[in-house]
Amino acid sequence: MAPWQVVGLSRWPARRALRTMKSTENSTSRDSNPPVAHRSFIETNVTRNTAADTSAASAAAGTSAPSAAEILPELYRQMSIARAIDREAVNLQRTGALPAYAPLIGQEAAQVGSGAAIDKRYDFAFPTYRELGVAVAMGVDLTGYMATHLASWHGGLYDPVASRFAPIQAVVAGSVLHAMGWALGQKLDAGLAPVGRAPNEASAHDSSNPDANEPAATEPDTSSAPIGAAIAYFGDGASSQGDVHEAMNFAGVYTLPVVFFCQNNGWAISVPTENQVAGGSVSARAAGYGLPSEKIDGNDVAAVYEATARALNRAHSGGGATVIEAMTYRVGPHSTSDDPGRYRSLDEEQSWRARDPLKLCEKRLRDEGLAGDEFFTEAAAHALEVSEQVRAGILSQVDRPMHELFDFVYAEPPAALLAQRDRALEEIS
């Protein structure tokens, strides 16, 4: 049995029924990993630290995911959609419809795999500007998502609260702290204090249990509803920012339900990871904060999905934060204004194209008899159809009304700002 066929449960929308999860032990077996490593620092053998063995707890918490094998065809379909929209966005930029765009090509597995593991009943994603695949997997309104690249609205035009997908961030790292804070909010909602207990505390939540407010780091609470988890997206470049370190430290001190999901795509614009990350590994830093970590093959959608599900289950059951470093590659430029030819070789890019996450997934689906020609033809057609819809949506977006300059600056705007608005509307429109 393939290792990713072991896990079973109900995260996937089409499979809500709960089943008892047996074990995740096999999911880290080495033979599940692809053999090729084109960058010296990638570890194709998944290394798991202490994130293991949350299976019983997560089963009790009732938030476990279906196995990757069960949904591998769906993951492939979503990766196809992400790639088709990504290609369309580049085309739209090249034809003047989009001012700029940050392509995700090469990172489909890392994004779709992690996004598909998110349970929107409980969890919340904190994206950067290159998270189209996560948006696809989470069902975010994709025209609304693309609105940020269309320069319609900085944070996008989808509803972030309903989508469980925070407004898009144009600057990296700051949102990692937001994920940590949001996660603290979930812990507080669960009746738990950040850390320890106050002297003489009026324990409103569980006066019968003297340890009710102790962080459940070692003994996950398996009796209650899942604690909502935040998943923070960031890259190897952002990992240099103090905010990321502060977030991991807070998450460690407070035992917070966060998944720190680093897509190490090899490049922060023109600076390679070896000149960015001292020690060469973002996941290795987790140990310093007392957090478990996994360094995974970010181009293996099943591995990404399973690692994310494990980390989320751990968070749901009170086990705290996990750092995942998904090793992948930014096949395209940083943005449509960037020329990678100035800082890296074509050979390097070509070698990564050989590890195309869609091709890897297709091979597995075919090898295991899970999908054939008919499926791939249909998936391609479906992806094209969705990307055409998004394209049409983008092209039909109207100019923003001028009053929106002023509409959302404050919840209760000062009179002076309203006066500025009224005068501007009179003079300019």
Partner: protein
């Protein structure tokens, strides 16, 4: 002036409560840090607690023979403002000097 309160400390050995046997100071007393403050009895022994603060005792939060849990407020001191914060001093509440005199214009 400012007020600072202290709670019954964790007296160790897993003890969670203590009974006030005798206050060794009186309300209004000026006590210095380290001076004997109160005698309390745990399930294991009677111990004398030194004052954690220099200041004037303004409130006992427990009478003699009362049982307190660790973390319950024990005593409140009134302290000089200079002692009230951890960083910086408190400005003197005196009027600033003046030398400049004003003269109204004729109109």
């Amino acid at each position: 002036m400012a007020e600072i309160s202290f709670e019954l400390p964790d007296l160790g050995e897993g003890l969670v409560e203590a009974r006030v046997l005798e206050w060794l100071v009186s309300i209004g007393d000026m006590v210095t840090r380290g001076e004997p403050l109160v005698e309390v009895e745990t399930t294991k022994s009677a111990v004398e607690l030194p004052s954690p603060q220099t200041g004037v005792v303004v409130t006992f939060h427990a009478e003699e023979d009362d049982l307190l849990h660790v973390g319950d407020t024990l005593v409140t001191f009134e302290v000089d403002d200079e002692q009230a914060g951890i960083v910086g001093t408190v400005p003197k509440a005196e009027a600033p000097e003046r030398r400049v005199r004003l003269q109204l214009p004729d109109d």
